[in-house]
Symmetry: C2
Subunit: 315 residues, 2 copies
């Protein structure tokens, strides 16, 4: 069968990303274990091997960088290598994990420049050393017409708790690290620092109820933290927007690589957490941007998220 079709109705683009994920779950059936071991979170939690008594959950995540999608000729090759590892580290940070090792698979056109590849590997190696991630292996394959680098990151929970996207309840506050929007225009998308220490710290706080990293834009990603019958009530005045960008960018641009999480409890508890954060991470903004309300509550004064769709991968 020809994998490609020129008749759009027969293609994955026609279905869209969310429906595609639902189909993939069905196709995989029992070959994919239930969450948190299967699809649907920033990392997969590995089933503990029998009889090991493993104390800290093992985590695994995989993310590529693809020429023409995640980088182009304007991005220095070192930055591409740095970005590849950093975006996987961001997924690990989102579960409160710390890294153990990585493997990288390259699919390369034979016309790839040797000095481009040197820059790529040197950037990857520098980032790996900075975060103490041994690069334990990999693969090189020929891919005429393309350039795809796929990194798989192995890690484990930094503490006794793994924080997933499930766990938020109506009444929880919504908070975010850093500033949002304009990641491509500002170069943040290849310069960002994954929030590993911050993610581990948040996972250790019992009042943090759910967490993820922002990759497709707040307006899209926030749905993944929102439980049934709830509605995120965000306030425009509260959103930490990157200088020179606007609300639309903060909600719809992808590749923020910031942590989005929910906070259980009274306003005083949220304030205490923010105070403790500022002592621990004085250079990283932490902002409470709203709250999870009942879906039936009036949304007056809050942002209408239905107008902000975020990044659609097969658009």
């Amino acid at each position: 069968m020809n994998p490609f079709s020129d008749s759009p109705a027969e293609t994955i683009a026609a279905l869209g990303e969310q429906k595609l994920l639902t189909r993939i779950r069905r196709w995989l059936g029992s070959a994919m274990p239930a969450a948190p071991h299967g699809m649907g979170d920033d990392c997969a939690v590995l089933p503990a091997p029998r009889g090991t008594g493993r104390r800290r959950a093992a985590l695994v995540t995989v993310d590529p960088v693809i020429y023409g999608e995640h980088f182009d000729a304007a991005i220095p090759p070192r930055a591409v290598g740095q970005k590849l590892l950093s975006r996987n580290l961001s997924d690990l940070a989102a579960m409160g994990g710390s890294p153990d090792a990585a493997v990288v698979a390259l699919a390369l056109d034979p016309r790839v420049r040797l000095d481009w590849l040197e820059g790529f590997y040197r950037g990857l190696a520098a980032t790996a050393r900075r975060h103490a991630v041994p690069l334990v292996g990999g693969d090189l394959a020929c891919h005429r017409g393309g350039l795809v680098a796929t990194l798989t990151l192995l890690g484990r929970a930094a503490g006794p708790r793994v924080l997933t996207r499930a766990g938020a309840r109506i009444g929880d506050f919504i908070a975010v690290t850093g500033v949002l929007g304009g990641s491509l225009a500002s170069g943040h998308h290849w310069r960002f620092t994954p929030r590993l220490a911050e993610g581990a710290w948040l996972a250790a706080r019992p009042e943090v109820s759910a967490m993820m990293d922002l990759s497709d834009g707040l307006g899209k990603d926030l749905h993944a933290l929102t439980p049934p019958r709830a509605r995120p009530a965000l306030f425009e005045d509260l959103l930490p927007i990157r200088r020179g960008h606007d609300l639309r960018a903060a909600l719809g641009d992808g590749e923020d690589y910031e942590l989005l999480f929910t906070l259980r409890g009274e306003p005083a508890a949220a304030r205490r957490l923010v105070m403790a954060w500022r002592k621990k991470f004085p250079r990283v903004p932490l902002t409470v941007i709203g709250r999870l309300e009942p879906a039936s509550a009036p949304g007056a004064g809050t942002i209408d998220l239905s107008a902000h769709h975020g990044f659609e991968h097969f658009g």
Copy 2:
């Protein structure tokens, strides 16, 4: 920097695969730990986490299937999914490992047919169930103009011993499972069964000194098992060649996905292992095809491997 060059001298193709691997080692430097934890074997052996007292070594391997390289429109999509997992399982088998879990990253053109993707995932899931490999997660990304599926397989040694490519000595016998050559023409390359039980059984035999799986052709791959100052002496009459194919195919075709290993000891010990094998795996041929001799020994009657180069990835 533009990653691609039309001036061949500046590209990875000009350097060739072996020299490229040497460069990559240099570029990665201390970010890549020494073997068996780094590049150079079928799987990487993961460093044991501090204080875990892990009994069986953890293994990881990564391999892709790429449209136009590892499959085309003539291969059923189910077979592509099956091949993707099987070729990773073959790498695990080559170290005497058994699988724990897998993650799969897809880079997909938006024009990929939905029914092609369904076939792919169903084939992958069926193979995963057959070998009890939970598919714990993955990633979908857009890749205009391409179709690349990359699978990372996690596993561990099936017994107390991990068998690597290092360990063969002059005097060891050379043996191979199955029949060689004609993998593409016969369809073996997407129908093969990874030699997991066989690899685990061989790793438990102390007289087996080194092992790998055959992916680029015996004539090329055998060099990886050959220690310094040794020369593999193979005898044409002994080679198990696929029906309808010839010596050139058996040495030079890739994708055999059979186990190649070396055997320490006297001829009687080798005979005993072959007898035990035939009882245990009566349907899988095992053939002693030659011996490692001193490089200085006369090569009369043996195959001249310098005339058989195997598969060059960036040729």
